[in-house]
């Protein structure tokens, strides 16, 4: 009887621990499957996975990289559908942007002397061809 009780006790223990050891031991929480859509917030793989598929990332085309379908529309509706003048509308809601203009070249520009030399050389070629007119 005593032997029978020992066998029964050992058998129950063995069955219980079989499950435990088969899964690496004591990780009861993992038995509940994580939904596929749920992502751990602090995992490094979350970011990596997003970067590996650029076509699904909404960040790729905005704001520096524009013109994906659907992206331009909302902005257009805010600012390009204008009833009044540009300057009037933009003063209130948009940052100030000035259109680029022609500027005079400063003599301190990198390589100005060389550029001047190239221009003088081009002038000399034209003057030479005009005075000598070879082949004309």
């Amino acid at each position: 009887m005593k032997q029978f009780l020992i066998i029964i006790t050992l058998s129950i223990f063995a069955f219980i621990t079989q499950n435990v050891f088969a899964h690496g031991g004591g990780h009861k929480k993992e038995t509940a499957p994580i939904p596929a859509t749920e992502e751990p917030a602090d995992s490094m793989y979350v970011t990596e996975e997003k970067e590996s598929d650029p076509f699904e990332s909404p960040e790729l085309f905005s704001p520096g990289d524009l013109f994906m379908p659907g992206e331009i529309e909302p902005e257009k509706s805010e600012s390009m559908d204008m009833e009044g003048s540009h300057s009037e509308n933009n003063e209130h809601s948009m940052p100030k942007v000035e259109s680029a203009k022609h500027k005079a070249i400063e003599t301190s520009s990198k390589g100005y002397a060389t550029a001047l030399g190239i221009t003088v050389f081009a002038g000399l070629i034209f003057a030479g061809l005009t005075f000598i007119r070879p082949g004309e």
């Binding site: 524009l66 013109f67 600012s79 948009m94 942007v97 990198k110 061809l129």
Partner: protein
């Protein structure tokens, strides 16, 4: 010795084939405007190859790479200036060339096809100018592209290849850069080749008021004249690049519309201000009108005094464009796109 060497080179390279006769009046500014345009195009190609070594065709870095070129690279500002001003000079000489051809009725039988090729080259040059404007990726560039995409969207399936939806995931700026440095120049070079072939085939047109055949000169003499004209064009471009820097703004603020297009496109801006759909219909109408010129004008006369209607149309065309460019430059946009 030198003569012997020249003879050997002429034989081996077939240079004697360039000795064919052409009319003497070809050695004049008005009959060399096409050659001057070709000189500008050559300068554009060479300076463009150099510029491409510094340009990053990425929306995030394109504008910064240009600022770096202009501010930090030795002679970078000069290189960009030469590319920009070559485009400006090319536009002017090309338009003057087209006006001269119209004025002297050189598009008439048997040169109709060459007129059509010329209009094709003009259209391609306009496209190159547009793509070049977009590549600098400042506010002006962004707005130009936004307008273009609006038109492409309205064109439905025909406009799809011109939008980002055609190649999702590829920034449109990359594709525009490819078109600017590869596709469009190849097409233009092929068309220029065809244009020159038909000039050779049909010969340069005689003066419209000539009563007797013009005196001829060898083509090599005209080449020498064109060499001098090309040197003059190079000097002009260098002088402009040395004194006036082309516009270059900061990275664009998306959604804003505060700039105006370059003067070559400002007439569309003015028309758009009158009626927004002009943005879509005006360019094809004008190109169609130019293409129709040799088909509609069947008058045999070439002298301008005997073509009052054609000259009136030309004058009207120039006046309307000049007025639109001036108006577009001074007006403030009030439209709903």
């Amino acid at each position: 010795m030198a003569n012997g060497l020249t003879k050997i080179l002429e034989d081996r390279l077939g240079l004697h084939l360039l000795e064919y006769d052409i009319p003497e009046h070809s050695n004049s500014i008005k009959y060399s405007l096409g050659g001057m345009t070709l000189s500008s195009f050559g300068i554009l190609v060479i300076s463009g190859i150099l510029l491409s070594q510094f340009f990053i065709p990425d929306p995030e870095r394109a504008n910064r790479s240009l600022h770096y070129l202009v501010d930090q690279v030795y002679l970078g500002w000069y290189l960009r200036g030469i590319h920009f001003w070559a485009g400006e000079v090319l536009t002017v000489t090309m338009i003057l060339h087209a006006i001269r051809v119209f004025f002297t009725a050189s598009y008439k039988n048997p040169r109709e096809i060459n007129w059509l090729i010329g209009i094709g080259i003009m259209t391609m040059m306009g496209t190159l100018l547009f793509t070049g404007t977009v590549l600098k990726w400042d506010q002006e560039a962004y707005e130009a592209l936004a307008h273009f995409l609006w038109v492409a969207e309205k064109m439905g399936p025909f406009g799809l290849p011109l939008t980002e939806a055609f190649a999702q995931g590829v920034p449109l700026l990359n594709r525009i850069y490819m078109a600017h440095i590869s596709l469009l120049p190849i097409i233009v070079i092929l068309m220029i080749g065809l244009h020159l072939f038909y000039i050779k085939y049909h010969k340069l047109s005689q003066l419209p008021d000539a009563t007797k055949p013009a005196k001829n000169i060898p083509f090599t003499q005209h080449m020498a004249y064109l060499r001098r004209a090309g040197a003059g064009i190079l000097l002009l471009i260098c002088l402009l690049a040395l004194t006036i820097a082309p516009p270059l703004g900061e990275e664009p603020v998306l959604g804003l519309e505060v700039t105006k297009p370059p003067w070559q496109f400002v007439w569309i801006y003015a028309l758009e201000n009158v009626w927004v759909p002009f943005l879509i219909v005006a360019p094809p109408i004008i190109i169609g009108f130019l293409l129709a010129v040799p088909i509609v004008d069947q008058n045999k006369e070439r002298y301008w005094k005997k073509r009052p209607l054609a000259i009136a149309v030309l004058a009207g065309f120039i006046l309307i464009f000049a007025a639109l460019i001036i108006w577009g430059s001074v007006t403030t946009m009030t439209h709903s796109m």
